[in-house]
């Protein structure tokens, strides 16, 4: 079969080339035919970066104007696309400045490997990786966000396989084509358009946790210092002042007052510090963004030049910032009619500092949210003097070690924000030279090369006395180089067979060479503790650990595209690509075809309602290349570890190299995704309403993953082409020109636009394995499970009997089931965006709402805060009669009358909630929440929550100053604007903004576990033209 395809492909290439050679003999000059009827000027950009009339396209595509990306006010291109395109779901890693995002087009179609769409910028593939990222650490950037949104002229989203087939094994998740600006001719005297734009933004946290303020730190209803839980006494019943030991150890702070902290003998302080502790963590984020661009063009050349600087301070009140400075020069030169040259160059310098998050004793939210309401976090650093007067400088004080006598169990948030360093220093260059040669009439050869290289130096630094395993200091310094070299040559040729039939052929060759090089080292157990230095000399030899890693992949691809226009109403396209890659052994061929029929040319001609109608259908096959180095079973440094972190490292025992637990597979093949799509593009009432709708179904076979094999076989997993995953869905985009003011922009114009999409994903088969871990925790994870949507939640469940009723223990409480199972689905049932654009006399108001409905999320943070007695839910008090008090038990089987003393009237009041699991009322108290019922219990079923959301994604108001004012100021153009981003959010999810995901760009979804919060922004902008 493959051989036939190959043969067919080569035949196609020969025909195409033959046509190319023949083309010069033809003399028919009608290149551009006037389309009768409605003049449509919409231009789409194809996968190889060529312009094409949208009318002639047989697959689904969505465009976003560069302006819309800029006006979103987001620093990154990824987030700027949110809500603007159907079936394009964007998940943010967190609200940290510069944080990456995860883009998903038409659902997830693969398990491991690259999950994101291919980004092609000016015809050259670019790296959009987020290197790193897991359940802890800091949020990494996405390299796509290195681009300055101001430089973008247009973004084209190619969703289906047919559109993308020329990109072969990299196209299975769709392709996003970014075109940057070109120089434009100006009618000004100096032929120069100079634009200055500045904006100033204010960011705020968009969703916070509510903490109870009734009970204090402690356990069993008694105050206890340094304990994790807030199960202590009722704060208001205290005396008012702490009784202190004035003779023993003390902690001397470095604040202005040099406050002293002494051991508390009896807690009496009634103050609740929730607000103060909150204000320690958050601030108003600030962003300054400045751009200057110069654009010019004449008959021969064009120039676009831009310098920009984005300088952002995050909402987290410490080492959280992001600064990106970019420069771009896009130059074109037409030597003569035949030869054209262009050179796009871009450089970007990004410096940022991030805050530790997630499942991490040194993370921000973990220490902040768990802090008891009666503890004041303000003074986090000072000198600890023990009872004999020995001083420890730079001691760390937190609610789990209030005297700062040693590293607290969790970091004080002040320490996390101010003492830890997590920098990323990126330099990136993208350079794209291109030449075109019309070597024969209507036969154009394009040769394009691209080089995209980024260097990232990252430092992770924990000073001595940070919590947990970093208590003696730890740091990592690493360098990551990512590069992609590409060479692309193609020949485009137009043959006008006769007036009714035109054939376009393109035949091309593409070579890419990608590399990742990572080198660095980590060091711990610092020798010198009083100075922060990012130097390896500060550790002894056995505590230094260098590492390096190299990856290299080469692909080459030949392809041919044939476009047939018949009678200017039937458009047929046939594509074939044949690809070889260093990561799989035999060459693969990917065909695709699309057909568009503009039926309004035949029927309903001149219809008053339907002014334009097109039916389209496409089919395509694309692939996903296997990751590098899956062929062999390798031998690695021996290491035994558990999920709790304790490790035995062979290199500490004289060195040991043994067999890896992952079995290689020499027969690994690319995954194959086939997609079938039907759609229509309609315009009504002289184009006042345009509607585009598509139905698609795709199936990925041979999806690659490390198949779980029983550990008792000697391996834990084996790489294989093992899974089958399907997606099907519909997507609709609509645009209503309610009041059209195209003729006169000063008049009132009103536009309503929207999109809605629905995707249903199912994992058809995963090779008989029960489930595959994608990301998350031992207790709760996002997994692939046969017969379920990809990414479903997996974890401990409640035990039920055959008829599905809860099995209860002797005290009437639910019990954990022995085995784990599926708990919920993070995939949304549907997503939609609806917006309106109102313009009048230079004013332009744009409002965009976006929603995601039906997905679930794991409220891991909330569950754990229940364990700690922090949520208001756990601070409830109940009153029961004496009779009930003698019967109702807590999880330990104690009745209420044994847990507390009676009130004057004989009733009993105590902390907890009454619940009936089916065996009569029980008391949910500390014993339940710190056991099975809380987030640390083995059952996570109750913490899978609805994560539907509805938000005011964007509201922006722009005002173009009128000529009358401009003339007085002697400037040709000026505008001022305001953008509000994420201002309103409606969701029932008890946690962070549900569009965030702890594990970021990994293949697992919907996890919230002490994730840094999301933001809302107010942005003010000014633009001047000269």
């Amino acid at each position: 079969m493959i051989n036939y395809l190959k043969l067919g492909l080569f035949a196609l290439i020969i025909i195409a080339l033959g046509n190319t050679i023949n083309a010069q003999n033809k003399t028919n000059d009608t290149i551009v035919k006037k389309s009768d009827g409605i003049q449509l000027e919409e231009i789409s950009i194809t996968a190889i970066g060529e312009q094409k009339n949208s009318r002639k396209i047989g697959y689904s595509t969505s465009q976003i104007n560069g302006k819309a990306v800029v006006s979103s006010g987001e620093s990154g291109l990824i987030q700027g696309l949110s809500g603007k395109v159907s079936n394009l779901a964007i998940t943010k890693n967190s609200g940290d400045p510069g944080a990456g995002g995860f883009i998903q087009i038409r659902g997830q179609s693969t398990i491991t490997g690259n999950l994101q769409p291919l980004i092609v910028i000016d015809g050259v593939p670019m790296s959009n990786s987020s290197f790193g990222g897991g359940v802890d650490g800091v949020v990494q950037q996405s390299r796509l966000n290195d681009i300055n949104p101001q430089d973008i002229a247009n973004v084209e989203v190619l969703k289906g396989a047919a559109a993308a087939a020329v990109w072969g094994t990299r196209a299975s998740n769709g392709v996003i084509i970014v075109t940057t600006k070109k120089g434009k001719y100006s009618d000004k005297k100096n032929n120069m358009n100079i634009e200055l734009s500045s904006s100033f933004g204010l960011d705020f946290v968009n969703k916070e946790y509510e903490k109870q303020s009734i009970f204090g730190q402690g356990t069993g209803g008694k105050w206890k210092a340094n304990t994790g839980g807030t199960w202590g006494d009722k704060i208001e019943t205290r005396s008012g002042t702490d009784e202190l030991n004035m003779n023993g150890a003390y902690f001397f702070t470095y604040n202005k007052e040099n406050t002293l902290y002494r051991p508390i003998l009896k807690k009496g302080d009634k103050t609740v510090y929730n607000d103060l502790n909150r204000d320690q963590v958050f601030r108003t984020g600030k962003t300054f963004n400045n751009n200057v661009s110069i654009s010019s063009a004449n008959e021969k050349s064009s120039v676009y030049f831009n310098l920009s600087d984005w300088n952002q301070e995050g909402i987290l009140n410490g080492n959280s910032d992001y600064r990106r400075s970019t420069g771009r020069l896009n130059y074109t030169h037409n030597l003569n009619d035949k030869f054209k040259f262009s050179l796009n160059t871009f450089l970007s310098k990004i410096y940022s500092n991030r805050i530790q998050q997630g499942s991490n004793l040194d993370g921000l939210y973990l220490g902040y949210l768990r802090t008891s309401p009666d503890f004041n976090n303000t003074d986090y650093i000072g000198t600890y003097y023990n009872a004999s007067g020995v001083a420890v400088f730079n001691s760390h004080r937190g609610y789990r070690n209030y005297m700062g006598s040693a590293a607290p169990t969790y970091n004080n948030p002040g320490w996390t924000l101010n003492k830890q360093t997590n920098t990323s220093d990126v330099s990136r260059i993208i350079i794209t030279p291109e030449a075109t040669w019309e070597w024969a009439k209507k036969s154009i050869l394009t040769v394009r090369t691209g080089y995209d290289v980024s260097n990232d130096r990252r430092i992770t630094y924990f000073p001595t006395l940070s919590a947990g395993s970093n208590a003696n200091g730890a740091f990592t310094d690493e360098f990551i180089k990512q590069s992609e070299l590409s060479f692309h040559a193609y020949n485009k040729n137009v043959i006008d067979v006769n007036n009714n039939l035109t054939i376009n052929t393109t035949v091309g060759f593409l070579y890419t060479n990608r590399g990742i090089y990572n080198i660095g080292g980590s060091a711990s157990q610092f020798i010198l503790n009083n100075q922060d230095r990012f130097a390896f000399i500060n550790s002894t030899s056995e505590n230094k650990n260098p590492f390096n890693n190299i990856q290299n992949q080469i692909n080459n691809r030949i392809y041919a595209i044939t476009d047939i226009d018949y009678l200017d109403k039937i458009f047929f396209q046939l594509t074939a690509a044949s690809e070889a890659s260093s990561t799989f052994k035999s060459r693969f061929t990917y065909p695709s075809a699309s057909l568009a029929y503009e039926f309004t040319k035949d029927i309903l001609k001149g219809n008053a309602v339907l002014s334009y109608g097109k039916l389209r259908s496409s089919f395509g096959l694309v692939g996903v290349e296997p990751p590098a180095y899956l062929w062999s079973t390798n031998y690695i440094n021996s290491s035994s570890a558990s999920g709790w972190g304790e490790t035995l490292d062979g290199s500490q025992f004289g060195g040991s190299i043994y067999r890896s637990s992952v079995q290689g597979n020499p027969d690994i093949k690319p995954e194959q995704k086939t997609e079938l799509e039907f759609g229509t593009d309609l315009k009504f009432f002289k184009n006042k309403i345009s509607l585009s709708a598509s139905y698609y179904q795709n199936k990925t076979t041979g999806a690659i993953f490390a198949v779980d094999v029983p550990a008792s076989s000697g391996f834990t997993s084996k790489w294989d082409n093992a899974a089958t995953i399907s997606n099907k869905g519909i997507e609709v985009e609509l645009n209503l020109k309610v009041i059209d003011n195209q003729d006169n922009p000063d008049k009132l114009g009103l536009n309503i636009y929207g999109n809605i999409s629905k995707n249903k994903n199912i994992v058809d088969d995963i090779n008989g394995v029960n489930s595959i871990f994608l990301s998350g925790f031992t207790g709760t994870s996002s997994r692939a499970v046969a017969g379920q949507a990809l990414g479903v939640f997996w974890g401990g469940k409640w035990e039920t009997d055959a008829s599905g009723n809860l099995v209860l223990d002797a005290n009437g409480f639910k019990k954990a089931a022995a085995t784990e199972g599926v708990l919920g689905d993070p995939n949304a049932k549907y997503r939609a965006g609806i917006g309106t654009n109102l313009s009048w006399k230079g004013f332009n108001l744009n409002v965009l709402f976006e929603t995601s409905q039906g997905g679930q999320m794991w409220a891991g943070t909330y569950g754990v805060l229940n364990n700690f007695g922090i949520t208001p839910e756990t601070a409830n008090e109940v009153t029961v009669t004496a009779d009930e008090a003698s019967k109702i038990k807590n999880y330990n089987g104690q009745t209420i009358d044994k847990l507390t003393t009676a009130n004057a009237d004989g009733s009993y009041t105590l902390r907890g909630n009454l619940e009936d699991f089916g065996g009569g009322k029980v008391l949910l108290d500390q014993s339940w929440y710190t056991g099975l019922g809380g987030g640390f219990g083995s059952v996570s079923q109750d913490y899978i929550k609805d994560a539907s959301w509805f938000r005011l994604r964007e509201i922006s108001l722009n005002y173009n100053l009128p000529k009358s004012i401009l003339n007085k100021l002697h400037i040709p153009g000026a505008s001022i604007g305001f953008t509000g981003r994420n201002l309103l959010l409606w969701t029932k999810f008890p946690g962070v903004d549900p569009e965030l995901n702890l594990t970021g760009t990994s293949n697992g979804r919907g996890l919230d576990y002490f994730t840094n919060p999301g933001t809302k922004s107010y942005i003010f902008s000014l633009k001047l033209n000269f």
Binding site: L17, G228, T409, A440, G468, A489, F509, S524, Q525, E542, I550, Q553, I554, N556, A580, S581, S582, S586, R587, Y629, S632, N634, Y635, I636, S638, S639, A641, S642, G643, W644, G645, E646, T647, L648, G650, Q652, G654, S656, I657, Y658, R659, S661, V709, P710, A711, S712, S713, G714, F715, V769, N770, K815, A817, A818, T819, G931, L932, G937, S938, V939
Partner: protein, 450 residues
């Protein structure tokens, strides 16, 4: 003419590209071998990794859970509170199981083949002892487990051997190893102590036979077992993550406060304030108490922490994998079981003598002492001594279960102590031979201990 030249130029441009693209061989070269890892290794280098897996199994997560179930530790914070209430599920056992087979048994099988091909009998024997040690501990915790078909490419989903068969398989391995290792103690980078492999193999065999209730067999094996001063330790001589004591790593370094000894049975046995403490006129446990526990102001996380600062679980404390004390207590128990109380007491007193020289405070019992004057009292005294001596070892949990909790460890939740570990979720997911289990199976003892 010009057209032809142009044609040639264009063809010249494309033709080499087609040639390049058809050469698949060159392009594959760059990904053929992984530059970051190796393609093979030497059996001598592999054995350390397998031994570390053995240490991880006997000193890491499995040992902690066994210790909590046996009342030696208490789950004190976060997820460990649930463990203390015996609320565990299949997923909690993944990592211990995966380590045991992939890092341990699987490597041992490879090493055996490689060493045998090289004619290195000692290494082959050491791999056998390591494999037997791993599988015996695993079988004592899980009961029926894969052994005969484990880690063999011909059996992608190995069957589960009966516990008795696993024991037979391991005893065969030990018998074979004893003929190979001579008097050597080579290939022991992960271990410390003046042990010889032969003595280690015999004590392991004695342990296996004791579990199988073959008391005379166990006596015969233990008589060849570990001699005084020649204990078999996991080596933790460097104060670095990855090298140091695993209990220390968990208790202080990675998971401070999760696990405590507050309200533990072992603390009650040694604490002079406790009504059930084992001190008596001939027994002063003060020094051992200090070696085992940090209390009050010295305890950083709870009222009683396991002693991770200078004591049994210090960062650089070697961990006893198998020792003279256990060997002697096997003898003591076996003689008591076959009715020879005099001989039994002799061996118990040998252990007390060892404690006397180690801690001080122990005088020999005489057969009329109330602690040992009947077989029942003697057995209880032996098992309490073993429970205390083997602090932190899986074997303490095994003894509790195989003697139907003769020493009376209190139950934290429900009516019974856990009788076994649950089969891990990862194995259930991928091996259809895994026995079906329900949550209540946690409380059913493994076959040999019923």
């Amino acid at each position: 003419m010009k057209k032809i030249i142009k044609n040639i130029i264009v063809w010249m441009f494309f033709a080499p590209l087609f040639i390049i693209t058809s050469c698949k061989k060159d392009i594959n070269e760059i990904n053929k071998t992984n530059p970051n890892e190796f393609s093979d290794s030497d059996a001598k280098l592999m054995i350390t990794g397998a031994q570390l897996a053995n240490v991880m199994l006997n000193e890491g997560e499995a040992a902690r859970l066994a210790g909590i179930f046996a009342g030696q530790f208490t789950g004190y914070d976060r997820q460990y509170i649930s463990y203390g209430q015996y609320n565990v599920n299949a997923g909690d056992f993944n990592s211990a199981w995966e380590n045991l087979y992939t890092n341990g048994v699987g490597q041992c099988k490879l090493i055996k083949t490689k060493a045998s091909a090289n004619g290195d009998k000692v290494l082959e024997g050491v791999a056998m002892i390591t494999e037997a040690n791993l599988l015996l501990t695993a079988s004592s915790l899980w009961g029926n487990i894969p052994a005969s078909e484990a880690c063999n490419e011909n059996f992608p989903t190995p069957k589960y051997d009966k516990m008795a068969d696993v024991y037979t398989y391991c005893i065969d391995l030990l018998n074979s190893a004893i003929t190979k290792v001579g008097s050597s103690s080579n290939y022991a980078s992960a271990y410390s102590g003046d042990f010889t492999w032969k003595e280690v193999a015999y004590t392991l065999k004695a342990r296996a036979l004791l579990h199988s209730k073959d008391y005379t067999g166990a006596i015969a094996a233990a008589n060849e077992g570990i001699s005084l001063g020649n204990d078999f330790y996991a080596k933790h001589e460097t104060a670095s993550p990855g090298a140091w004591n695993l209990y220390y790593d968990f208790l202080d370094w990675n998971r401070g406060g999760y696990m405590s000894c507050e309200d533990s049975h072992i603390f009650a046995l040694l604490d002079s304030a406790s009504s059930i403490n084992k001190r008596n006129i001939k027994t002063d446990e003060s020094e051992r108490f200090n070696h085992y526990f940090l209390v009050d102001a010295d305890a950083p996380y709870s009222a009683v922490d396991p002693n991770m600062y200078g004591g049994i679980f210090d960062a650089v404390s070697n961990f006893e994998m198998l020792g003279y004390n256990e060997n002697q207590l096997i003898l003591a128990e076996c003689y008591a079981r076959i009715g020879n109380n005099i001989e039994s007491l002799k061996h118990l007193n040998l252990v007390r003598a060892a404690h006397e020289s180690n801690y001080g405070g122990y005088n020999a019992y005489v057969i009329t002492d109330s602690q040992v004057n009947t077989t029942a009292n003697l057995l209880k005294e032996i098992l309490i001594e073993k429970y205390v001596s083997l602090f932190g070892q899986v074997e303490a949990f095994n003894d509790v279960r195989r003697t139907s909790n003769l020493i009376g460890v209190p139950v934290n939740n429900g009516t019974a102590l856990p009788g076994r570990f649950l089969y891990p979720q990862s194995e259930i997911n991928s091996n259809a031979n895994t026995p079906v289990q329900s949550q209540s199976d946690l409380f059913v003892p493994v076959d040999l201990y019923k």
